[in-house]
Amino acid sequence: MDSQTRVYFPYVSPHDPCPPIRVKSYYVPPQLFIGFQPENLPQFSPMEALMHGTLWPALYSPYVPTGQRERRGEGHS
């Protein structure tokens, strides 16, 4: 459900002192995939654009805080 996060499963040693965090995640924000922005992308309404910080849904990058996004259990869907 969150196509902008990726998860990975870091190595966990049997000798680690603390309970392991088995899933870690990071963001891959949309600008990494657009290259040169094509013309005529769908747009938010002006009011939505003001709220989102961008005119284009394709550039919108919601941020789910670290810890919450892993618990959603989704890397990419």
Binding site: V7, L32, G75, S77
Partner: protein, 189 residues
């Protein structure tokens, strides 16, 4: 752990007694975009980068130390037999006052190395983009250094080092592509 081979990655020849060039080469020794900064940056970032690219950072960080040795060798060859007058004329009088002929991690302007030259943001994309930028800046520095000397032997070594920056930059860009790929859909935790 590392295994050390007692030879340079690429042979370093210096064909001309040119103390002035030693001062300029210091930019790649202890400068912000130099080999020390590069090695420390990559070998530190690797701990918190996704597993798939840890090895890349380890390998490139290690190679940067091999480059550091090459720069050190050039600087040493250019300064070891210089007289105090020659050092002073080359702008290395202050360096002599502080360090004799010892090498030190400073940039071409004599500013000492600082950890603020490097960053580890923890965000894999941010870190890899910094690494790409660092490689491009180092490539540019090598270009200007090549411009500043007519010693073909030094130029040869610097051209090799410049080429390695090109290769490393591409490897980091590939790492970004690897991290962009879909990983682990529908995992069970």
């Amino acid at each position: 752990m590392w295994i050390y081979e007692k030879k340079l990655q690429y042979p370093v020849r210096v064909g001309k007694c040119d103390v002035r060039m030693a001062k300029f080469l210091m930019e790649q020794y202890g400068g912000a975009d130099g080999e020390l900064a590069a090695a420390l940056r990559y070998l530190n970032q690797r701990y918190t980068i996704p597993d798939k690219v840890i090895g890349l950072l380890t390998d490139i960080g290690t190679e940067e130390f091999a480059h550091l040795e090459m720069i050190a060798t050039m600087v040493y060859k250019l300064t070891k037999d210089a007289t105090m007058e020659e050092l002073e004329a080359a702008g290395l009088g202050a360096h002599y006052a502080n360090h004799d002929r010892a090498l030190f991690y400073e940039n071409a302007g004599g500013v000492p190395f600082t950890a603020t030259y490097i960053q580890a943001k923890g965000d894999p994309i941010a870190d890899l983009y910094e690494d790409i930028a660092a490689e491009e800046k180092a490539r540019a520095t090598y270009q200007w250094l090549i411009d500043m000397t007519d010693d073909v032997d030094i130029q040869d070594g610097l051209k090799y080092l410049r080429e390695r920056e090109v290769v490393h930059s591409l490897r980091f860009r590939e790492a970004v592509e690897i991290l962009k790929e879909e990983q682990g859909r529908k995992k069970f935790f």
